[in-house]
Amino acid sequence: MTEFETRLAAELTRRRFLQGTALTGVAAFVAACGTTGSGSSAPEESAGESAVPSASEAAEAQSPSAELSFANWPLYIDTDDEDETKHKTLEDFTAKYGTIVNYSEVINDNDEFFGTIRPALDGGQDTGWDLVVLTDWMAGRLIRLGWTEAFDLANMPNKVANMQDVYKGVDFDPTDDHHAPWQSGMTGLGYDSEVTGDLTSLAALWTDDPRWKGKVTFLTEMRDTIGLTLNHLGKDPSQISEADFDAAVAEIQTALDAGIIRAFTGNDYAEDLVSGNVVLAMAWSGDVIAKQAEKETLVWQLPDEGGMLWTDNMLIPKGAANKYTAELFIDFVYDPEIAAQIAAWVNYVTPVKGAKEVLAASDPELAESPLIFPPDDVLANVSIFKLLTEDEETTFNDKFSSLTGN
C-alpha cells in the first residue's frame, strides 16, 4: 500500500475508534441515568392493558372488570415463600370476583412515583393504575389537586365498618371517601443493642457518645426527621409552625456540626444497620423487624418522647378505568381475615379492626406484637405530622434540603 493509503487507513481507524469510544461512553452514561428512572415504563405497559376494557362507567359500575392494575411499595403484601410472584391475598380476590390483579411493586419513593403519574393526571388522562398506595402527605397532595376519584362508600361496607377510629376524619380527607389506609408504620429508634446498649430516649441521637458518634443516620423523609426532632424538643408535630420548624432545623444542625450524624438516608439505613456502618438510626418499625433475621441484636424502640405514625393509603387515581373493581378490592382487604393474612407477613400496623382476633386464633405470638397491634398506650405516644399547605410544604422542603446538603 502507498504511504497515503496506510495513513488514511490508520487515521480512519483511530477516528472511528475514538468516536466509537465516545458513543459507548455516552450510551453507558445515558443507560446509567436511565436505570434510576425505570419506574416510568410500567404505567405505559399497564395503560395498554387496562385501556382495552373500555366499557363506560355506568355499565362497568355494576360488575367487576376483568383486570385491576395495582401499584404498591415492595414487601408490602403477603408473598409466597417459594414463588415471589404469588400473593395469596390477590389469588383470593381473583377466586371471589374473577378479576386478575396486575400487581406491580413499582413505588420506591413518593416523589419519584408522583413524577411518573403527574403528566397523565395533569393532562386529565388515565394513568394506567386503578389503585396506588401513597403516604399521607402525598395522598393529601393528590386529593388537594383533585387527582383522585371519590369512593362510592356503598360499595365498601367492610371499610366503613372496620376502619380503626384513629384514622377517621383526617385533615386531608375529612369525609374519608378519597383514601383508605393500607398499612401504618411507626418511626422510632433502630439500633444495634450489642454496640449501643439499650436506648429509650431520642436524646441519644444528640449525644456525643463514642459508641455511636459518626454512625448515626437520620431520614431524608422530612416529616419523620423533623417530627422526631420536635418530639425531642417537646413540641407537637401535628401543630408545627414555621418557628417550630426553624428550631428543629437548628437542633439537627447541632448534631451535624458535632459530627454525630453520618448521613441522611432513605431505606438504605437498614442495610447499614446490618453491616455495622450504622449503629443508631431513625428507623421504620417493619424494616428493623425484617432485618432481625439477619442480625439478631437489632432492636426497634419507640422513644419515650414519642415517635411518628405514618400511614400509607390506597387511592384511586382520577380517570382510572376500573374504579368499581378497585372499590371492591379495598372492601376485600378490609375483611379481618384478609387483613390478618396481610399483617402476618408484612409486620406493619394494620388499620382493620378485628384482624387481631383472627390472628390470635392462628398465631398468638404475632397477635401480641406491639408493632403490628400497638396497644393504646403506644398509640397515644405517637404523633402524626401536620398536613401542610402548599406554601408551607415548599418552604419546609427547601429548608430541609439545605440541611441535607441539597
Binding site: 490508520a10 388537594r144 427547601d398
Partner: protein, 334 residues
C-alpha cells in the same frame, strides 16, 4: 438526468436527516424547553408562568449552590487526575508490553462495564464498609483505629468516581499510544536518547508534589506529609522510569488520547450524582444531586433548569479553554 444530478447532490443531506431529526427532537427541543422553564415562576399546584423578570433565578441559584458547583469541579478534577495517573501507565503497559495478552487486558479494563453503574457503586459501598473486607482485618490487626472510616467522606466519593470512569480514560489513551510507530522510539534511541536524568527527577518531584498537595488540600488531609510523599514518589518514578524518548516522542504523540480521555472523564464526573449519594454525606453533595433534588423532591423546576444550563455553559467554557491550552492542531494531526 437533471433530476438524478439533483438527487445526488441532495444525498448527503438526506443521509444526515435521520440524525438531525433525532437531535432536534431529543436534544434541541428539550434543551429549548428546559431553557424556557428556567424562566418560570410559580408552583406545581398554582401553575407556572413564563416571565423574563425571572432571570434572577440564575444568580440566586448560583449563589445558593455555589459550594456544590465548586465541589463538583474539585471532585471532577481530582477524579480525572487520579484516573490519569492510573490509566496512563496502564495503557502504556498494554500498548507497549502487552504482546499476546493485549486483548485480554483490554477486556479486563472494560469488564466492569458489564455490570450496571449503580451496582458497581453499591459494591464499593460494601467493600469500603467500616468493618468490611478491606478495613475489618486492618482494624482487627490494630493498624487502623476503630473510628477510622472512608465511607461517607469525600475520599470515598472521589475514589468511586475515579473507579467508575477509569475505562473512559484508559481506552482513548491506549488507542493513541497504540498508533505510535515503534520505529520513532528506536530512532530516538539511536540518537542517544537515554534516561531523562536531571529533568526526570525534577519533573517527577514537581508533578508528584503538586498533585499530592492539591489532592490533600482538597480533602483536608495533612498537606505537608502528603506533599513529601508525593515528591519522594515522583522523584523515584522520574529518575528510574522516565526516558527522554518517552518524554519527547511518546508523550506528545499521545496527547490527543489524553485530551479525549480527560474530556470523557471530567464532563460526566462533574455531573455525577450517584457516587455522592451512595458513598458520601451531606457535606459532599455535588451539583448533580442538587439538580435531582430540586427537580424531583422539591418540584422546583426553574432552579433545576437554571442549574443545568449553568453546568452546561461552564463545561463548554472549560472544554474550550482546555482545547486552546493543548492546541487544537494536536487533536486532529497525527
Amino acid at each position: 438526468m437533471r433530476a438524478r444530478q439533483w438527487l445526488i447532490r441532495l444525498t448527503p443531506y438526506l443521509l444526515l436527516t435521520p440524525g438531525i431529526l433525532w437531535l432536534l427532537v431529543f436534544y434541541a427541543y428539550p434543551s429549548v424547553q428546559m431553557f424556557i422553564s428556567s424562566f418560570w415562576s410559580g408552583t406545581l399546584e398554582t401553575g407556572f408562568t413564563v416571565s423574563l423578570d425571572n432571570w434572577t433565578t440564575y444568580p440566586e441559584a448560583l449563589e445558593r449552590y455555589g459550594p456544590q458547583f465548586g465541589r463538583s469541579i474539585v471532585y471532577g478534577a481530582a477524579a480525572t487526575t487520579i484516573c490519569f495517573l492510573i490509566a496512563y501507565p496502564l495503557a502504556y503497559t498494554i500498548a507497549f508490553r502487552g504482546g499476546r495478552y493485549k486483548s485480554l487486558l483490554l477486556f479486563l479494563v472494560i469488564a466492569p462495564f458489564f455490570t450496571s453503574f449503580l451496582l458497581r457503586t453499591q459494591s464499593w459501598k460494601i467493600i469500603l464498609g467500616d468493618d468490611g473486607i478491606l478495613f475489618g482485618p486492618l482494624k482487627d490487626l490494630g493498624i487502623l483505629g476503630p473510628d477510622f472510616r472512608v465511607l461517607a467522606t469525600p475520599t470515598a466519593v472521589v475514589a468511586g468516581i475515579a473507579y467508575n470512569f477509569l475505562p473512559f480514560m484508559t481506552l482513548p489513551i491506549y488507542v493513541s499510544l497504540e498508533k505510535i510507530d515503534g520505529r520513532l522510539v528506536e530512532a530516538a534511541k539511536d540518537l542517544f536518547a537515554g534516561p531523562w536524568r536531571p529533568g526526570g527527577t525534577i519533573a517527577g518531584g514537581v508533578v508528584g508534589g503538586v498533585a499530592a498537595a492539591g489532592l490533600a488540600a482538597a480533602f483536608q488531609y495533612d498537606v505537608v506529609m502528603l506533599a513529601l510523599l508525593g515528591i519522594v514518589g515522583g522523584v523515584l518514578i522520574g529518575t528510574f522510569f522516565l526516558s527522554e524518548s518517552f518524554v519527547r516522542i511518546v508523550l506528545p504523540l499521545s496527547l490527543p488520547g489524553v485530551f479525549a480521555g480527560s474530556l470523557l472523564t471530567f464532563i460526566p464526573a462533574m455531573g455525577d450524582f450517584v457516587n455522592a449519594e451512595l458513598l458520601g454525606n451531606t457535606q459532599t453533595r455535588m451539583i448533580g444531586n442538587v439538580i435531582q433534588s430540586r427537580f424531583l423532591d422539591n418540584n422546583d423546576y426553574p432552579t433545576a433548569a437554571a442549574l443545568s444550563f449553568m453546568l452546561m455553559a461552564g463545561i463548554l467554557i472549560a472544554v474550550a479553554v482546555y482545547a486552546r491550552l493543548l492546541g487544537t492542531k494536536e487533536l486532529t494531526s497525527s
